[in-house]
Structure formats: structure tokens, C-alpha cells
Assembly symmetry: C2
Homo-oligomer: 257 residues x 2
């Protein structure tokens, strides 16, 4: 039985990244799969797990790409997964959900803001094996070929072995190289800084535009994604949509008494 695969992203249905992910998935599985891509109708980077609840959504069929069904949604990445499951996959659930390939890194804390990973977390909560792929090059015409072998290995591995319950994967791929290998690791801790450029409008009033850079608080930690990406390895981070930290319950109880 050919696996049925849902692909989404946050860069939109016209992004090179989603076409590359379809290409590499078809190659990995020797065309023995059915792919349905359901993506935003435009760029939705930085949308995290946002949902559209105060406006209607539209779902539009687009021309197929190499046999893959292509659909556009007038919403967020999570909307794409929810609406796809409600309509296209109502009768038969996908065997696998893939997201990306994102134009830009989703390593370290970037995962918090990531639409690419937002829809992966949603698919995971819905019980699907789900994987997000991101390339560390944000340009619209990025060369996605470093991802080819990584997609091959990860997609085949997950289709064959499944994923632990409640766990999805966040895969990052270094750009402009042939990756040295794949490291299973964790997200580096850190934060963003110098986050706004300041302007004055023609009437002299200030406005702000997001920019900044990531400060890695664990530069030398050899068990983190940033460490291995810097050394030209692809990284795979097992990721959970459950943010609870019950290991801290006793300490918090003592605070409140």
C-alpha cells in the first residue's frame, strides 16, 4: 500500500522549499507514495502555532506538481493541517506529515516562532508521525540540495519505524555544503537580542521593525543543534507539543504554601 503523505509549510504553496520537499520525498520513495500538499496561499513565516478563529478560511485547488495534489489555504500553517484533516483527509488519514523545507533555520529557540514547526506540532497532537525540515538559508532561491539525502534517510526511517507517541521531529540542514552526517540532539538554549530597528515616520513618530540576532547561551554544548549545524551536520531534535514540566511540580507547590 502506497503511503499517503500530507505536506505543509509556512512559506506558502509557491515556495521553492515545498517543491524541493516533494521532489526529495518522491525520490526517497521511488514515486511509491501519494502526496497531498496543503500550504498557506502566501508567506506565513513566524506564525508559530497560530490559528484563525475570527475569520473564514478558503481552500483552493492548484495545479498538480509531479503527481502531488496542491492546495492553498487562506490561513496559517496550523489552519492548513486542521482544514486538510477536516476535508481532504476526512475518510483516510495520512500515514505521514511533512513540513517545509523551510527557507531558514528553525534550530534552538526559533522553533517557538516557527510556522514550519507549528503545523508539525499540530499534526503530532492529532496522532500523525510528523517531521519538519528547515534549511539554514532564508533566501527564496536557496539551494535545497543539501537536504536531499537527509530527507531520504529521515522519511524512510520514520515510515519504516514510526515515531514514539507524542513525539515529532525538528530537522535542520546546513546550507551550501554536503552535510557531514545527521546528529540526533536537543535545541540549544538562548535568546534573541537587538531586536528592533527604529525609524521615524514623516510626522516624526517612531516605528519599529523586527531584526536582531540569536545569542547561543550554550556555545560549547556538544549535545545541541546549533553546535552541530555550525559543524555542517544536519540535526534531528525529538520534539514534544506538551510544554508541561511536572518535574518542577514539587518546587512550585512549595512556593505557593
Amino acid at each position: 500500500m502506497k503511503p499517503l503523505i500530507l505536506i505543509s509549510n509556512d512559506d506558502g504553496i509557491d515556495a521553492l522549499g515545498v517543491h524541493s520537499l516533494i521532489d526529495y520525498t518522491l525520490q526517497a520513495l521511488s514515486n511509491e507514495c501519494k502526496i497531498v500538499a496543503v500550504c498557506p496561499d502566501g508567506a506565513r513565516s513566524g506564525q508559530s502555532a497560530a490559528i484563525t478563529h475570527n475569520a473564514p478560511l478558503r481552500l483552493y485547488r492548484r495545479p498538480s506538481y509531479k503527481g502531488a495534489e496542491m492546495w492553498a489555504v487562506s490561513g496559517t500553517p496550523v489552519d492548513c493541517v486542521k482544514l486538510a484533516m477536516h476535508t481532504i483527509f476526512k475518510e483516510k488519514r495520512p500515514d505521514l506529515m511533512l513540513s517545509g523545507i523551510n527557507h531558514g533555520s528553525n534550530a534552538a529557540t526559533c522553533v517557538s516562532y516557527s510556522g514550519t514547526m507549528g503545523c508539525v506540532l499540530e499534526a503530532c497532537m492529532l496522532g500523525l508521525p510528523a517531521i519538519g525540515f528547515s534549511l539554514t538559508d532564508y533566501r527564496p532561491d536557496a539551494d535545497f540540495s543539501p537536504a536531499r539525502e537527509v530527507v531520504d534517510k529521515v522519511v524512510k526511517g520514520v515510515l519504516a519505524g514510526g515515531l514514539p507517541a507524542g513525539i515529532c521531529l525538528n530537522v535542520n540542514i546546513p546550507d551550501n555544503c554536503s552535510p557531514e552526517g545527521i546528529k540526533v540532539t536537543r535545541a540549544a538554549k538562548g535568546h534573541w537580542t537587538d531586536e528592533y530597528r527604529e525609524y521615524k515616520d514623516p510626522s516624526g513618530q517612531p516605528f519599529y521593525w523586527l531584526t536582531g540576532h540569536f545569542v547561543n547561551a550554550e556555545l560549547d554544548a556538544a549535545d545541541t543543534d546549533e553546535y552541530w549545524l555550525a559543524r555542517k551536520y544536519a540535526t534531528v531534535v525529538p520534539t514534544s507539543p506538551d510544554l508541561s514540566s511536572p518535574a518542577n511540580n514539587l518546587e512550585i507547590e512549595s512556593l505557593l504554601n
Copy 2:
């Protein structure tokens, strides 16, 4: 030294919930604090940890409320925290960040979509002790009084004792009652279902509007937030912005080899 407190939310600067949170915080601390509220300029529910990177942001001063500075931001809840830290708190960081009180529950998986918790996670990544408060009544004119004692206890406890590094709190309060107590617990696992109402536009084309209900997969689990909220307890869930699950690394490594 009076503590300096940043308050944000996702329901916007005009919401009753943020005014109630200011009221109850001032009462808890006998007015011995300085509050600065920086909130979206309108409703931003369901915005998760979304950021605005492709448009400028404006920051507007509003009239003060009971001595609290009030500011509106033309962006998401996370934008509010980032921009507040870049501007208002550039010289002196807040001692505490609070969010809410949200109009509606953020228990269980709702935390994934929650703007209330999105900005709490952001504050946590920036190293601030941070707490999100939500009431299980989504109505604009909800009665927030069940939150009064909970805010008192949690704010005093955290100001006195701090929070573990990398941990913030997700506090939910049952509506229309005097809470039986406070339980420190974890998020119930589950998912949303029946998520769209379907319509036809005047030309006969379909459109969709998000709705649905939460299916609790752990109805009888007495260590979950949904369990205790149903029994009229307020719940406190220690929450981490780090989604990595390194306990699964070995299993994932074996998949890829």
C-alpha cells in the same frame, strides 16, 4: 524596592481581563509595585508565539489605569514583550511578567495556540519570571473575581521565591465559583475535533469557520489540569519553552541507522 511588573495579554489593552489582573496585582501587593501594561491594540487570541517580521510595529501610550502605565502595540502578544523590553524596559528589566487574565481556558493543548501563553514563553526565554492567568469563561464581560485569590497567592509566591530557570507558569481558574484551592499539575493530553463549520458563499463556493471541541484523552487522570478545573480548583502548570525531548534521542538514532 517596589517590584517592576510587565503585564501583557492577547485580548488587547481594552480587555476587562487585563484591567482585572492589574486590580488584583495591586491588591496583592498593597499598591507597592510599579505596573506597566503593554498589550496588543486589539484582540489577538489564538496567535500562539507568532511574531511580526514583515511589517512595522507602532507603540502607543494610552491613559494610565490606577497608576499603571498602559501601552498598545500594533502586533502580536510576543511582539508586545519583545518591543516592551527593547523600549520601555531598556534600562531596567522587570522583576516579573504577568499575562492575562485571558478570557477563556488555556488548559490542556490550548496552550499551543494561546497568545496569553505565547508571550509568557517569550518572557521566560528572556529570563523573566513569568506567569499566564486564564479564566474558563471567554465572554468579554466575564466575572473575573474567582481569580482574585489565585493571583494573590501565585504573584506573592513567585515574587518571594522566584521560579526555576527556564520554567514559567500556566495558571487556569474555574469561572463562576469560589475556587476550592490550587493544584500544581500538568496539561491534560488530547486534541480538538469537529473543527469547522462549513458554509457556501453566494456563488456556491465553500468556506470554513473554526469551531469544534476538545477531546480529553485522559479524562480520569488526577494529575491533569482539566481534571482539577472540572472539580473547581485553579490549576498551576509548570511550563517550559524548550520542546526538545532528549529522552527519545536513542530511539530516534536507531530509526536513522
